[in-house]
């Protein structure tokens, strides 16, 4: 393992310390591992709290700031944060208009946020709602699984819902926008290499040089199937086809997001975006907005994911609204 670290046990807290130093506009609670907007709580605004295991940077801490999240809780690498952290975050962003928890659909994340909502409401009476993101078409959504995983749509959702909260919409309205984004977003990912969790010290799975995993999540877990390595053109088909087979994307324009898993350079991500755009045009899907880059990563994994979000005028307006965070910044 070659990594820019000191002791593997200190990776998360030392990275948060660096974030605090690099972004003085944020307030970082190192003891509770929560990243806050510097001006939180914003009076009269719905507070947005997200969080999850570390290792997906810039998500979620890098999406804290005006026009996006009010706070993000950082768990250990690939492990859900605990309710205590979420209670601190929820209390710290309550500006009197309620708090929305944005939760990715993993058993641990869902249960810990669930407990945190119960504890905070019992303690302070703050109204808390939660939206669970489950957009990964690689997982069959059935009674026989924990349901689809929350992946790429989470990034688009945090941006769009952040803008809705910034406009002063009510908790019910903001939660409604969040559910709408989740219903309209779908993702599919692939890996060229595994990733190495610092505490483990070696790659999570072995992937020979001439093979790749299709349908991976964001925790180095194995995918839907392992296939021989193929040209980008064919990889794009393997990602786009299952998304288009799962939902209709022709009735309204889409936001098209090509995400890097951590180790794939922008050169390759833009090449992939070109292939994806060609496929979408052929399928009659109109792209209204795009996002290309590593925004929801899996440590040092090489590979990418594609997310499509069917967007109406309201969602596009919210997407275009100003945002000022370490990870996403425009119009600010």
């Amino acid at each position: 393992m070659k990594k820019l670290i000191n002791d593997p046990a200190d990776v998360v807290v030392e990275a948060l310390r660096g974030m605090a130093a690099a972004h003085p506009g944020l307030r970082v609670d190192l003891e509770n591992r929560v990243v806050f907007r510097g001006d939180a709580p914003v009076q009269g605004k719905v507070g947005l709290v997200s969080g999850g295991g570390s290792g997906h940077e810039p998500m979620h801490g890098g999406f804290v700031g005006r026009g996006m999240l009010d706070a993000a809780c950082a768990g250990e690498v690939f492990t859900s944060p605990v309710p205590d952290q979420m209670v601190v975050a929820t209390e710290g962003v309550d500006g009197g208009a309620g708090v929305l928890h944005i939760v990715k659909n993993y058993t641990g994340d869902v249960m810990n946020f669930d407990m945190a909502a119960e504890l905070t409401t019992a303690k302070t009476g703050v109204e808390v709602q939660a939206v669970v993101v489950d957009d990964d078409v690689a997982v069959q959504d059935s009674l026989y699984t924990a349901g689809r995983r929350g992946v790429g749509t989470t990034v688009l959702l945090e941006k769009i819902v952040g803008a809705a909260a910034e406009q002063g919409r009510s908790l019910a309205e903001v939660a409604g926008v969040a559910r709408k984004v989740n219903e309209r977003g779908r993702s599919m990912g692939m890996a060229l290499t595994s990733c190495t969790v610092p505490a483990a010290g070696r790659p999570t799975f072995d992937l020979p040089d001439d093979e790749m995993e299709i349908g991976i999540g964001i925790h180095g877990e194995p995918g839907r199937r392992r296939v021989p390595i193929a040209p980008a053109k064919e990889i794009a088909e393997m990602l786009v086809e299952p998304i288009l087979a799962d939902a209709d994307f022709t009735s309204e324009p889409v936001i098209c997001f090509v995400n890097g898993m951590g180790a794939s350079p922008l050169l390759e991500l833009y090449l992939m975006y070109g292939e994806v755009a060609t496929l979408l045009e052929r399928a009659g899907v109109r792209i209204a907005r795009s996002l290309v880059g590593p925004y929801i990563t899996s440590l040092d994994m090489a590979g990418c994911s594609v997310t499509l979000l069917r967007a109406d005028d309201d969602l596009l307006g919210l997407w275009d609204a100003p945002v000022d965070t370490p990870g996403l910044r425009w119009g600010a």
Partner: protein, 208 residues
């Protein structure tokens, strides 16, 4: 009849067994999960023992609530809320007493199981901790109803937990991260059912 000291001894014995079996639990979790069950449970139960040493609770209710809150705060993942809820509900049902009759113990343990069900909504055969815990508590009730002592009933419960744990091997996982593997989860013993079997074995070793 179990005393406050015996109940504390149960908790400490569970901590000892989890630590002793840490690598085994992690290896089981590597196969079908995310390779952290042993480390997380050992860290959580280590914190539980530290809290017991620093602040010994006066009643059964206080003891198990402290255990539950510590696990919720320290473990994370799915095991933290599930084990945390088990002990919190156990403590609430036990109440502010310093001794528990066998029937009261069994009732409190069942309240813990009901907490696990409310939190994770497992069903029999999903390949989870429920598959060891539910048969264990059924055996406990049945033995006590038949007039067995708490010690004998707990030994029967421990045997039932072990059998339930072993029965998870051929199951197809339908909850948690293992469920993403589908057919590939078959043939592996569930780590949560394994740690629950340790919990019941620890009870048989220290109570009654």
């Amino acid at each position: 009849m179990t005393t406050q000291d015996q109940l504390s001894a149960w908790v400490r014995e569970f901590a000892r067994q989890v630590t002793e079996h840490r690598d085994e639990l992690t290896a089981l979790d590597s196969a079908i999960g995310d390779a952290d069950h042993g480390a997380n449970m050992a860290r959580g139960m280590g914190a539980v023992v530290e809290a017991l040493d620093a602040n010994p609770p006066a009643t059964a209710g206080a003891l198990f609530k402290q255990v539950g809150m510590t696990l919720v705060s320290k473990v994370g993942g799915a095991s933290g809320p599930l084990y945390g809820t088990l002990f919190l509900r156990f403590g609430t049902a036990a109440g502010e007493v310093t001794e528990l009759e066998a029937a009261g113990f069994a009732k409190a343990f069942r309240a813990g199981l009901e907490g696990v069900v409310a939190r994770g909504r497992p069903e029999a055969g999903d390949k989870t901790m429920y598959d060891a815990l539910a048969p264990a508590l059924d055996a406990l009730d049945e033995s006590l109803d038949g007039g067995a002592s708490l010690g004998d009933a707990l030994r029967a419960a421990s045997a039932a937990a072990d059998a339930g744990r072993d029965a998870t091997i051929p199951m197809l996982a339908r909850k948690g991260r293992a469920s993403y593997l589908g057919e590939r989860s078959v043939g592996h013993q569930d780590p949560g059912a394994t740690s629950v079997a340790l919990l019941v074995a620890a009870a048989a070793a220290t109570l009654g």
